[in-house]
């Protein structure tokens, strides 16, 4: 259906852990230079898809294609120079400073004797600038607030300087201001030509900032396309089991989901107290 070009896609790929299959024969293409948002209820296979697209998880059948070739045919470092991933849970080593942590993102560009080139330094400075953490660069990560820390992790992923950036729930645990700041940063990145893919929980944020939406349920892609096509009352009920009204966002005009709730006859039939 899509006429976009794509560098990264899953081609009837089956993902799972041990013998438990999460997604079967999943085909999904990430449009180049898009800001793609993946939405869906908990445990629908969103994170698994990101892990598959970044080669952290090998498909048991089918394949993931990066730049026209099976992603498994690349050297590990080469994948890391093309596709970046910010996982949900990362650990900051005790006593690490902000700049030191951001600099760790340069790993795939470095070697034993080339650990800190001028290019590394510039990429790290730029990544901190983009995420507005330059002033924090000498601070200990342990001492930062949750919002600041999340921006540090995003900066680390930016410093990796990949054309494609995958983010697993980057806005979770952030207050609303920091969520919007981060989403606008992703918009900036996408506008200068990077491909950004984020798993988001907030449908309204996804619809407002995403240029391309992928809705998943039970390991399958239920719908994909522009937010206006994907976010409809029918689809929200199908995917999330939530009856709602979809109205235009008063600022951006993008679809906005307003739950009907129980008192408006929106009982989903699942909860009877």
């Amino acid at each position: 259906m899509s006429m976009h070009t794509t560098r990264l896609q899953a081609d009837s790929a089956t993902f799972g852990y041990d013998k438990r299959v999460i997604s079967e024969r999943l085909s999904v293409a990430i449009p180049d230079e898009s800001l793609t948002m993946i939405v869906g209820p908990n445990a629908c296979g969103k994170s698994t898809l990101l892990r598959g697209l970044s080669r952290l998880l090998k498909p048991t059948a089918g394949q993931v294609i990066l730049d026209g070739a099976d992603i498994n045919s690349f050297a590990t470092r080469e994948v890391a120079r093309r596709v970046g991933l910010l996982p949900q849970s990362s650990i900051a080593p005790e006593g690490i400073t902000v700049a030191d942590l951001v600099a760790r993102g340069r790993y795939p560009h470095q070697s034993f004797m080339r650990q800190w080139t001028v290019e590394d330094e510039r990429a790290v400075a730029r990544a901190m600038e983009q995420t507005a953490i330059t002033d924090l660069s000498a601070r200990l990560v342990d001492e930062l607030s949750g919002g600041q820390r999340q921006r540090v992790w995003v900066a680390m992923a930016l410093a990796q300087h990949t054309g494609i950036l995958l983010l697993d729930e980057p806005t979770t645990f952030l207050d609303i201001t920091h969520q919007i700041e981060l989403l606008e940063l992703f918009t900036d990145l996408h506008q200068v030509g990077r491909t950004v893919v984020a798993v988001l929980h907030d449908l309204n944020h996804a619809a407002r900032y995403g240029t391309h939406l992928i809705a998943m349920k039970g390991g399958k892609v239920v719908a994909e396309g522009a937010p206006e096509q994907v976010v409809t009352a029918e689809l929200v009920e199908e995917v999330f089991g939530l009856r709602c009204l979809v109205v235009p966002d008063p600022v951006a005009g993008t679809p906005q989901v307003v739950p009907l709730g129980r008192e408006r006859g929106g009982d989903t039939g699942r909860v009877h107290l």
Binding site: E78, L85, S90, P93, P108, R114, V124, M128, H161, L189
Partner: protein
């Protein structure tokens, strides 16, 4: 605004990153290295202390010598008696303390980094208890020679480490699973060891206890050279793995996303760390606590992010040397070095719990 597409497009050349720490950046040709000044200074200072303690240890004994005599003996300019005392009798032991201590420090640093746990060392995946079981079996069942005892200990230790690794393996060996399985296996082997000692007669039990305490008493040049050769191969190997090792401190997924091949790197690191401890164990018996304590002291002195190998190696060497000096000269009767390291390590652990406990309150 944001620039992109290719790193070289990043035009801003005045970019200077403030790390909050003084960095030494060496860029020459294709080489570009960044080191923390504080780590360099700590390592140099500890190296200086090691040199002083080495000379002191070579001076001390039932035949006291002056620093000048020690230095000229090392340079080959003394009478044959003094030369023998310094180079043949005292130096092997001192060299062993330095080299083995450094090996234990590196081994502990690798485990603490891999398992992200300040209380980790090769003992946590059962190496120590397994080695003791192997030694006991040789002493009790075979009544074997010292060499057989060493072989038994190595087989026991390595077999236990392999067993723990395999039992903990599920979608790659995960740190937490290894700790849990290691504690379980160690507890089982610990009771087996107690039972074996209870079955033994007094002489055998004493021999086992003497080996189990860990001592540099009988160390000869042969052992130092063979052990040292292994360590000289293993330490650079560890250093070459240190970059991915530190990347893995960010979590397996982060490291993998940045191009680290997590599973093979972790296996390689475990093999190197176990081999380092096994080398020391073969030469001197188990010397406890240095692998546990050295990385933590090194990290606190150098204030590095996470665990780094070099400070752990230098501190390990200094600690082992100091413990052996105390064991030999400060105690009323010469003690095995292992006893002193247990005392030092126990004190350190108590202090760590005290400090951490106060910080939490």
């Amino acid at each position: 605004m944001i620039e992109h597409t290719h790193p070289s497009v990043l035009a801003d050349s005045k970019a200077r990153v403030q790390f909050g720490r003084r960095m030494l950046v060496l860029r020459r040709g294709s080489m570009a290295v960044r080191l923390e000044w504080r780590s360099i200074i700590v390592c140099l200072a500890v190296a200086g202390a090691i040199v002083v303690l080495v000379v002191l240890a070579l001076m001390t004994g039932s035949y006291p010598l002056s620093p000048a005599q020690v230095i000229s003996a090392l340079a080959g300019g003394e009478t044959s008696l003094i030369h023998d005392i310094v180079v043949e009798w005292r130096l092997p032991r001192v060299a062993a303390a330095v080299v083995f201590g450094a090996a234990l420090g590196v081994s502990g640093a690798i485990f603490q980094s891999l398992l992200r746990n300040p209380l980790a060392d090769p003992g946590i995946i059962g190496f120590s208890q397994g080695a003791y079981t192997g030694a006991l079996i040789v002493i009790l069942l075979v009544n074997g020679s010292y060499l057989q005892l060493v072989a038994g200990a190595l087989v026991g230790g390595v077999a236990t480490a392999v067993a723990v690794y395999v039992l903990a393996y599920r979608r790659g060996a995960q740190g937490f699973r290894m700790i849990v399985v290691g504690i379980g296996i160690s507890a089982m082997l610990g009771s087996l060891n107690t039972w074996l000692i209870l079955k033994a007669d007094l002489d055998q039990a004493l021999a086992a206890a003497a080996w189990g305490a860990g001592s540099l008493n009988g160390v000869s040049w042969d052992q130092v050279v063979i052990g040292g050769a292994c360590i000289v191969v293993l330490v650079p190997l560890a250093a070459s793995l240190s970059r991915p090792m530190r990347q893995m401190e960010l979590g397996d997924d982060s490291a993998a996303a940045q191009g680290v091949r997590v599973a093979p790197i972790r296996l390689a690191l475990i093999v190197v760390a176990v081999a380092l401890t096994a080398t020391v164990t073969a030469a001197s018996g188990p010397i406890a606590f240095i692998s546990l304590v050295a990385p933590q002291i090194g990290r606190r002195l150098a204030r590095t992010a996470g665990i780094t190998l070099a400070p752990a190696a230098f501190i390990g060497a200094l600690l082992c040397l100091l413990a052996d000096y105390i064991a030999q000269h400060a105690a009323p009767t010469p003690l095995p070095v292992g006893i002193i390291t247990v005392i030092l390590g126990g004190g350190y652990l108590g202090w760590l719990l005290f400090v951490e406990g106060r910080r939490r309150l």
